[in-house]
Amino acid sequence: MNKKIHALLWGAFSTGGFVAAFLLPSFIILNSILFHPSGIISSDPISYENAIIRFNNPLFKMYLIVLFSTTLIHGLYRFKAFLFEVGFLPYKKPITGLVYLIISIGTASTLFFVLSSLF
């Protein structure tokens, strides 16, 4: 089983790589650069009302879950590997634990917040 975990994790990591590559740039641009109080279009169409309408779109909910969870897995899996390569290998266990804890918490809370409005 232990062996399978690595293959599966890599599968998730790889999926995350694609998701982040295709979806994250536009998300950052739309959410934080373009329609932003100090952004390029500063009229801020992300008013609370607009945001809630968008947020209640089930398609958008799905989009957020996929984007957030896989990007987290991808990003932290990668960074973890880099940490080991630059001398943090002795702390392999705590780092690995921490990384998967953050991924779990992040994914769980995304699910929670996205789905909570449904109930």
Binding site: G17, F18, A20, A21, F22, L23, L24, P25, S26, F27, I28, I29, L30, N31, S32, I33, F35, H36, P37, S38, G39, D44, P45, I46, Y48, A51, I52, R54, F55, N57, L59, F60, Y63, L64, L67, F68, T71, L72, H74, G75, L76, Y77, R78, F79, A81, F82, E85, V86, G87, I102, G106, S109, T110, F113, V114, S116, S117
Partner: protein, 132 residues
């Protein structure tokens, strides 16, 4: 064969990633993972504020409007784009052998990168069209 004299094991230089350009690009690519993750964590916080009502969401938006946070968003975008480009470059090397051959030859990697880029633009526009 027993080893009478112990071979000398050199200590690994933890700053190897500063020793050549390819290594450095790689390091930046890996660090992009951290930056993207941070951005996602902030965004999770953002939706948590959104679900708890109008005032907390507006508080968050004001915080996000601070120059420091805006700066971070720009940096996050830069790293994400680095990720996107390097990811397309790398996956292109694999896709090259998976797509059907055109008159016996695999397509060049840059062509695949361009195709991926087109998908990126299409996906981005679709997201904009659907949700914003």
């Amino acid at each position: 064969m027993s080893k009478e004299f112990k071979p000398y094991v050199e200590k690994n230089n933890n700053f190897w990633w500063l020793t050549n350009r390819r290594y450095f690009t790689y390091a930046m690519r890996e660090i992009s993972g951290l930056v993207m993750s941070l951005y996602v964590l902030i965004s999770i916080y953002e939706i948590s504020q959104l679900t708890s009502g109008s005032s907390s969401f507006i508080d968050f938006r004001l915080l996000a409007a601070s120059p420091l946070m805006f700066m971070f968003s720009v940096i996050a975008l830069a790293f994400t784009l680095l990720h996107t480009i390097t990811w397309f470059e790398l996956t292109g090397k694999i896709q090259k052998d998976q797509v059907p051959k055109i008159s016996g030859k695999s397509p060049p990697i840059f062509a695949l990168v361009i195709v991926n880029m087109l998908i990126l633009f299409a996906a981005s526009y679709l997201i904009y069209f659907l949700f914003w």
